[in-house]
Symmetry: C2
Subunit: 88 residues, 2 copies
């Protein structure tokens, strides 16, 4: 599935309610999903992990949707050419 198609799918289902809620409140729910991912990682819960990754990405798409950002375009722009992910 294309990144843009998934972002669009999330918009079709949730944009109206997500936009009404706004960025700050939506960010809090995004962080709740990040916390659930942290729990699944810490417990090495192989059964729950895939769904938690999907949830975090879905809420990231929602944040992008209500802020007019095209994640696929941003990813291609930043990562298709040169190496740009910060090393730590």
């Amino acid at each position: 599935m294309q990144i843009s198609r998934f972002q669009q799918l999330i918009a079709e289902r949730y944009l109206k309610r997500d936009a009404d809620r706004g960025s700050p409140a939506t960010f809090m729910w995004f962080i709740e999903e990040v916390g659930e991912l942290a729990t699944a990682l810490a417990q090495n819960d192989k059964e729950k992990l895939p769904g938690e990754f999907a949830d975090v990405f879905a809420w990231l798409c929602t944040l992008a949707n209500i802020n007019g950002v095209d994640i696929e375009k941003a990813c291609v722009s930043k990562y298709s050419g040169k190496n740009d992910k910060g090393y730590k």
Copy 2:
């Protein structure tokens, strides 16, 4: 770009170092990127926002890579059919 292709691109570039670092340390750097996204959202920084979304997704892919999770498969499984994103 396919979700799986982007995850693979991140693996090709970063998997060795990311795997050596492990999940807990990688999660901390993922959260650093989430923090940068929060800053860009709070400041409504339209110039920085796309790159911050791309960085968060790239680090999410890294966490998935070192935990053997296929994000595209997880997204299709959880969101292609029934409505499953939690409403708040």
